[in-house]
Every structure is written in C-alpha cells, then in structure tokens.
Symmetry: C2
Subunit: 304 residues, 2 copies
Amino acid sequence: MNNTKEIWINFVHNLQDAICDALEQCDGKASFIEDKWERPEGGGGKTRVIANGNVFEKGGVNTSIVFGDVTPLMRQQLKIDGHKWFACGLSLVIHPINPFVPTVHCNYRMFELYNEQDEVMDRWFGGGTDLTPYYLIDEDAILFHQTYKNACDKSDASFFPAFKKHCDDYFVNTHRGNERRGIGGIFYDYQRATDDKPVDFWINLARDCGYAFMDAYVPIVEKRKHTAYNPEHKHWQEIRRGRYVEFNLVHDRGTIFGLKTNGRIESILMSLPPTVRFEYNYQPIAGSEEDKLLQACLAPKDWV
Amino acid sequence: MNNTKEIWINFVHNLQDAICDALEQCDGKASFIEDKWERPEGGGGKTRVIANGNVFEKGGVNTSIVFGDVTPLMRQQLKIDGHKWFACGLSLVIHPINPFVPTVHCNYRMFELYNEQDEVMDRWFGGGTDLTPYYLIDEDAILFHQTYKNACDKSDASFFPAFKKHCDDYFVNTHRGNERRGIGGIFYDYQRATDDKPVDFWINLARDCGYAFMDAYVPIVEKRKHTAYNPEHKHWQEIRRGRYVEFNLVHDRGTIFGLKTNGRIESILMSLPPTVRFEYNYQPIAGSEEDKLLQACLAPKDWV
C-alpha cells in the first residue's frame, strides 16, 4: 500500500470515530450500530447508523474503501482512464427529530487510478459539507459558514468563496428552477496535487474541513435540540425532507452512480430521511418563517 | 384537427370524468380539485387532485394535451424524428389511507409526429394499469388481472400475456435486484396502426382498458376500505411507499423525462405518496404477511 493511501485511510477512520463519538454525546440516548460489509468486486465499508435517539431520528456515518478494475461503464460515465482504481471516503447524513435542528451532509474522498504496472497514474480529492435547515436562524447559518471559511483559509484564502459557490451550484433541484435543498456550505472535487499544492496539502484541507464538523454542526445541535416545536413545524420539516429525497434520487451523482453500478444499496440510501411528506403544490405563506427558509434556498446568500 | 386526435381527446376527457366520479363516490367525503394549466411551449392540462378523504389520502387523475416542435433533446432522448409532435393522455395515481387498499397507477396516451407539411408521419399508442398492494389478498390480485385480461381479450388474445410481462419487466427497482414496486397489471407502448389493426383498433383497446378501471380497482376499494388496521400496518405501507418513490424518481422514464424537460412539476410529482418512510435495512419477518407481499414483488405470478 502506498503511503498516501495509508495516511488517508487512517484519517477517514479516525474522523468516523470522532464524529460518531461527538454525535452520540449530543444525543445522550442512541448509539451507532456498525454494519461491516464487503463488496464482491473488491473492498468494503463500515456503515454506522443511529436511529430513534433523543436528538437524531436517523443518521449514518459511513466509511468505505473500494477498488477494482476500471470497467467500460466507468470509462463512459466517469470519463476515467486507467487499469485499476481505488476510492476511500467518509460520507454522512444526519436527520434530527427537532425541525429547528438542521440536517447535515458531508463527504470527503480520495480516488486513485493505476496503470498496468500498478503505479499511481492519477489521484484526486473531493469533499464538502452542506447544511439543510428547516427554519433559518441567521446566527446558525453564520456560525456554519464561518467555521468552514476558517478551515479552508488555513489552506488557501481563495478556496472558501469558490467552494461555497460550487456547493450552491451543485445541490439544486433543477426541476424546481433554482431551488436548492438547503443553504449550502462547501464543495470541491477533482483536486490534484501540484508542485505548490502537494498531496499533503489536500489531505490537510480534508482534515481541517472534516474535523470542522465538530465546531460547525455540533454547537448548532446543542443550541437547538431543546427548542419547542409543534406538529406544523414537523409537517414543514417533512415537506422539505421531500425535497431532500428528490435531490438525492434525481440529481445526486454519487447516489445515482451507486444505484446503477451495484453499490451497497442500504448504505447509499441511508441518506434518505426517515419520515417524508409529498403534498400537491404545497406553498408556504408569503412572509412566514417557512417562506423565509424557502427564499434562502432560492437565492443563496454570503453568510460571512 | 385530424379526426383521430379529436376522438382520442374526447375519450381521454370522458374517461377522466368517469374515473373521478367513481372515486368520489367511493370516498364519500373528498372531491377532486381541478387545476387547469398551460404549457408555455404549447398545450396544457387538467390536473385533478383528491386529498384527505375518507378513503383516499392523496391521488391525482390528470389529462394533458401537449404539442410543440421536435427539439434536439427529444431527438436524442426519445429517438424520434419529425418536425412537430403532439401527445395526449390520461395519467392517474391513487394512494389510499388504508394499507389494505392497494395503490393504483394508470396511463393511456397517444403520440403523433408531423412532417414539415403538418402531415401525420407517425403515431403510436401506449398505456397500462398496475397495482401496488401493501398486503397481498389473492382474490383481489385475481380480480384485478382477470379484469384486464378480459379487456385485452376483446382486442387480441395474445395481448394480455405480453402486456402482463411487459408490466412485470418495467416496474422494477433494478437497484434492489428483481424487486418490483407492486404486483403488475398491463403495460404496452409504441403500438402503431397496421392494415389489420387500424387506428380504431388501438383506440378501442385503450377504451376497454381505460374503463376497466371501474371493474378492476373500484370493487377492491369497496371491499377493503373498512378493513381494520393498526400502526404496524401503516408503518409497512409507508416503507413500501418508499419503494414507490424510489421507482418513480430513479427509474420511471416518464417522470425523469418530465423533470428534465420543463414539464409541470406538481402534475408530474403528484404521483408521489403523501407520507413515506425510509428506514435503514428494513426487512419484514420471514413468513409474515409483509414478507408475503415482498415475495410477490420479487417473483411475479400469473394470477389468471
């Protein structure tokens, strides 16, 4: 195993442990259950799922290390070349019970391609974290974005604005015009080592952003988990969760690729919210708190 | 307007009225609300939605008459030729409250293509009706399939077995192996007039199958709408509704094409169930009534 691979795998597993610990402490009741799985074509993963807690209704913090031959489908759909490939990453989605606690998603991954001599011929990094609130609380949005700005700034001051825009442009339910699934965060992909930004640089970026989760999301949960809510708030949360389902099943590249290429279905679809509502032509009342959130999803804002 | 078009449009609108009347009578409380809409590129539709009734939790019986220029996207994705196109059809999805009343979907449509002289250069018919029970009641499955067999047999005795197979092969959540969303029915597409099967033949088939809804589905609703159920039954219904969402958003050609080509979103997505659950790796107990339904979705059966 090359050194980069080993460092990355350790990072991903340590981050999984740290995030699971932090979320279990937040929840105070439920624990993560681990399902180890193997992929017939090579590799496997550790799916960790939490459900029916005090705070978290459903969530997963998954890692996977998968590899194999480059297939014709991958050549065509991923537009990649090479003989064999390797991918390792962490992916999480957390759906809290309380509609005043946002849903969060993050993913950090490394991809390697090898030639016929098993030498690394290409390697890239991708990642990001994005927030999906049901009610917009400005101070939470600011805290979230500021924390990722700080994390990105350690590597390069140009990253945060670019990654924020990439995120705003990616998580869009294009079938609903400009409507995003949430208020964004950061997203980057296909980042390759260069002379002045070597492999370590990209691993450090992922580490800084990965661990920023503890400062960006956990404090919001702590602050909002006891906020009183009523069935109307829950109703709106379930309507918005419907938009989350629409994005993940219709547009999300990772989900669709996984579903069409024999990925582990239950690990991929753990991202779907636990209870969801689809109502015909549901529109929040103009000027309501629900509408305020919708408007923030229609027109992304610079929070920092 | 050519004569075929006029006959087809009348058929579709009359069928919409007949089905809405029958369902309102079944429900005894809720009425359909009609939304007329126009499509900027040409045509429009009548979306009729029922919600929160005695029997029906959410449902839509929609008709649309749409037309326009053949676009490059249509040439590529639909593999069609020609200058202008026209499509008219009825599409319905009904989600009952009671888990012992099945969900039903049907669609009957005609498509025409015109050359630069506005002459019809191609025309085809498609349609079908399929049943999605949450609990398998053999006599209901038999009634449903027998009714469509009788309807098809009026046109051609070879149709029912072929259309049943087409239906079983189409409504599959391929990302879950062989799992179908329900127990099938009939489905046919790209049927063109020939010397011995002229246009009238295909319109009669659609009429026979379209009106068979009243004999195939309504009696099942009447028989099961008062069946007692508990929260576990409802829970299972919502899990299976999740599979309905997965099929419609990941695989259904009509839905995906509509979402990617500026269709009327709320009319397309009215097919999604009102309340849905996604649970990690949910498996019914082997041999339970829930498992019996799942097995029927995994291995389609000849009911007649």
